[in-house]
């Protein structure tokens, strides 16, 4: 029997960078096929080509044995191939129901769209897939990232696809939602749908994939039915990563760096804790329980309703990011979503790096370009940013390297306290390892780090201490040897499963 979908000898370049180099991929009818590789390995490009989003420079696409030329996603849809792209394609100012039923709205009298029926249909569509907590009348911009991802998945599944591509569908989902998604994938597999997905989380890949294809540098490395994580990582990186987590440096005698007292806001019900010099303090818990508010309030990007923050024993008022980066406070926030928070994608690596220290680099209102260049080059070398040069635009770098540029910018501002907010989400293993090393090195230098991660394993391996937030409160404080991923997760979900 012909495979459900095949890409044969596909190549595609973006501005001189080869995203796919004569790469092939095929998925059978009724199988779950994981496509893995580092960022920049060509996984997303392969899915975009097979899903009709971009055209290949050369090569052939076959769907159900037929050679096809896809001039857009709608061509793929007509052949039963649907994709959930990594960058979501929902319409922000329209409702969940309008998004689910776009271009196939139920029509009533006079051929007009029946709004009430549309809401009912959408509700039924969500309920039919076991989703009860998303309001079909809510605007997309008012629901959480995880809910948007679910809506996007529901929309694709609702078309009963023969081939379903999911590009990192779990990156913004918590465990319960991942379990839901995998239930749906199994149901589709039983219905003879070919499901192709990408993920950076190995336990997910192993738990559901029938076959695993590994890509590296735009090329197909191999397809396996059985492969363990170490072998896979070796194939993905082309080198061995012996231990993913570097050893945590010893904590010096505790000296407080920052004290937070009863900080509160819309989702945060009063958090108090002390961060010490040289400490990596982990913040764990499920998304939506106040983590984001905590980090953004500390950085002044959101206004706190009440509470105080002291740095170096002195109370500070942080009402804007400008206050936070000021000398004497020295806070820096490294956020998760690189594209919307902080980087100027069209500008060069150098410009992005030196943006926050331009004052230090200028003399008489003019920039000292040589100094700027030297500073940027040093940082690129220090953080091992993979870029053709410091004059190249940041937008052309892979996700992990963009993340490093953002970290580099803050390092130049010489902060004493760094807030790392889920920085490794959707980042490949080798880059993750580099970020871990950097984080621990900064701690060893005496800087303090507040680290939120949606990955409990990371917190367990990298932190001196972990606070678990639940419903806006600190529900548990874990100290060694009690820091394990299981401990973190169980503290996070206690009581909240009913919600």
């Amino acid at each position: 029997m012909a495979p459900a979908v095949e890409g044969i000898g596909l190549s595609r370049s973006f501005g001189g960078v080869k995203a796919l180099a004569n790469a092939s991929f095929s998925a059978r009818i009724g199988e779950v096929h994981a496509l893995v590789g580092e960022n920049g390995a060509g996984k997303s490009t392969m899915i975009k080509v097979l899903g009709g989003r971009i055209a290949p420079d050369s090569g052939t696409v076959r769907i159900k044995g037929q050679e096809v030329r896809l001039s857009g996603p709608t061509d793929a849809h007509a052949l039963g191939a649907w994709t959930v792209f990594q960058e979501l394609t929902l319409l922000p100012w329209m409702t969940v129901a309008e998004n689910l039923l776009l271009a196939r709205e139920p029509r009533g009298a006079l051929g007009l769209i029946g709004r009430r029926r549309m809401a009912q249909d959408a509700e039924a569509m969500l309920a039919g897939l076991g989703i009860e907590h998303i309001d079909p009348l809510a605007l997309i911009e008012d629901i959480s990232l995880a809910e948007r991802q679910i809506v996007e998945i529901v929309r694709a599944i609702s078309h009963e696809p023969d081939i379903l591509f999911l590009d990192e569908p779990t990156s913004s989902l918590v465990e319960r939602e991942v379990a839901w998604l995998f239930g749906q994938i199994r149901r589709l597999r039983a219905r003879q749908t070919a499901v192709v997905f990408t993920s950076h989380r190995w336990n997910e890949i192993q738990s559901i994939a029938d076959r695993i294809t590994i890509f590296r540098g735009g090329e197909h490395v191999g397809t396996f039915t059985e492969i363990n994580e170490d072998e896979a990582v070796t194939l993905m990186t082309g080198q061995r990563v012996d231990t993913l987590y570097p050893p945590v440096p010893k904590l010096p005698s505790p000296a407080p760096a920052m004290r937070v007292e009863k900080l509160a806001g819309p989702r945060l019900q009063g958090a108090s804790f002390t961060l010490h010099k040289g400490e990596v303090l982990g913040i764990g818990g499920l998304a939506g329980h106040g983590h984001r508010e905590l980090f953004f309030m500390l950085f002044g990007a959101e206004r706190a309703a009440s509470g105080t923050v002291s740095v170096g024993g002195r109370e500070v008022r942080i009402r804007s990011p400008r206050d936070a980066v000021r000398r004497g406070v020295g806070l820096a926030l490294v956020p998760e979503d690189r594209k919307t928070e902080g980087l100027l994608l069209a500008m060069s690596v150098r410009d992005n790096l030196t943006l926050s220290v331009l004052r230090r680099l200028s003399a008489g209102g003019l920039l000292r370009q040589a100094a700027e260049r030297r500073m940027a080059q040093d940082m690129v070398a220090r953080l091992k940013v993979r870029t053709p040069g410091i004059a190249n635009p940041v937008g052309g770098l892979s996700g992990g390297n963009q993340q490093k540029v953002l970290v580099g910018r803050w390092l130049l501002a010489e902060p004493q306290i760094l807030l790392f907010y889920d920085v490794t989400r959707g980042v490949d293993i080798a880059t993750k390892h580099e970020i871990y090393e950097l984080m621990l090195r900064l701690a060893a230098e005496g800087r303090s780090i507040l680290f939120y991660s949606s990955d409990a394993e990371e917190l367990a391996h990298l932190c001196h201490r972990v606070l678990v937030l639940r419903e806006g409160r600190i529900a548990a404080e874990l100290t060694p040897p009690g820091i394990t991923a299981e401990q973190i997760v169980s503290a996070a979900v206690r009581d909240s499963l009913a919600a």
């Binding site: 989003r53 100012w93 809401a119 309001d135």
Partner: protein, 323 residues
């Protein structure tokens, strides 16, 4: 968390609610100032003139809304109003047959103007602001050619039907237009227009025919601009190939006051019509407050900035409360 349909409707139409509030506020201020200077409240005559004078702007505002919703902007609105206004003054004639025929033809001319814009934007992939800036000049040029000197004539019956000086009958058109918009929002075309303004690429990949939808949006816009030209001719009972120029900017003002987002995808023509009335009320208030006409433009601009600041502030506040 579930909220009722009405809670949703309210929080999702904050722009419309604000436009309505602004309309009420401007009406109250107008009445107060009118009473203070005239020692009586505005009567039937004032209401009738206000409504008749606002009709062309209300229609131009709908035209602008169509295009702004797709994340474009139509600078040629004034040019189309000029052209159609001139055509009306020259051709409407005196017989019923020729009046009806020419009215339809003029609306078609408006649609054709919109088609030109739409083709250049959708197929030529040019910036809407550039395309319509160019066509604005072109349409104005043709208008001058059609009616080199102000003049021409519009039959009295025509004026009576579109802009009856005896009473505010034109309010019926406002109601009809609001109903039209409610229906339009429930057509696939209407949803497509909003979807494109939300995210063009996403709309495309979800099966919306982006080119066709855009072209149709510009054509509908042109048609409404032409209707504005006809109403303008009816109100002034004659033609002038330059009076329409102002509608480009005032239609944008009305759209903004009406809560339509210049970034596309949000807002409604009903709000834009309210915005049109607010714009007229501002002029009326300035007139009755005996502001030197030389300062009129100055104060209009000032009011616009205050209104937009207020709307933005209140909108943010409401969203935060709702969230």
């Amino acid at each position: 968390m579930r909220r009722s349909r009405w809670t949703h409707a309210l929080s999702q139409n904050a722009g419309l609610a604000l436009a309505f509030a602004m309309l009420l506020a401007s009406l109250i201020i107008y009445c107060v100032i009118y009473y203070a200077t005239q020692q009586r409240f505005p009567g039937g005559f004032e209401i009738t003139t206000t409504v008749n004078n606002t009709m062309p702007l209300a229609l131009a505002a709908i035209a602008q809304t169509m295009v702004v919703l797709t994340r474009g902007i139509d600078l040629s609105v004034g040019g189309v109003v000029d052209l159609t206004n001139a055509l009306a003054a020259v051709h409407l004639g005196t017989t019923l047959g020729s009046t009806v025929l020419w009215s339809v033809l003029i609306l078609l001319v408006g649609a054709a103007c919109g088609l030109v814009n739409g083709l250049l934007v959708a197929l030529g992939r040019l910036q809407p602001i550039l395309v319509t800036l160019a066509t604005l000049s072109i349409f104005q040029g043709i208008a001058i050619r059609v009616l080199p000197q102000p003049g021409g004539q519009v039959p009295q019956e025509y004026t009576n039907i579109l802009a009856n000086p005896m009473g505010p009958w034109s309010l019926i058109y406002i109601v009809l237009l609001a109903l039209f918009w409610a229906a339009f929002r429930r057509t696939r075309l209407g949803v497509g227009v909003y979807a494109i303004g939300n995210d063009e690429a996403a709309a495309q990949s979800n099966g919306i025919d982006v080119r066709r939808t855009k072209i149709l949006a510009y054509m509908l816009g042109g048609t409404f601009s032409a209707a504005a030209g006809l109403f303008l001719a009816a109100t002034s009972t004659a033609g002038d190939a330059t009076t329409g120029n102002g509608y480009t900017l005032t239609s944008i003002v009305a759209v903004v006051l009406g809560g339509v987002s210049l970034f596309g995808g949000r807002g409604s023509a009903s709000g834009a019509m309210m915005g049109a009335f607010v714009t007229t009320m501002i002029v009326n208030i300035l007139f009755f407050a005996h502001i030197d006409p030389l300062y009129q433009a100055f104060y209009e601009g000032l009011f616009l900035i205050i209104a937009v600041l207020l709307a933005g502030g209140i909108g943010r506040f409401m969203r935060r409360r709702a969230a």
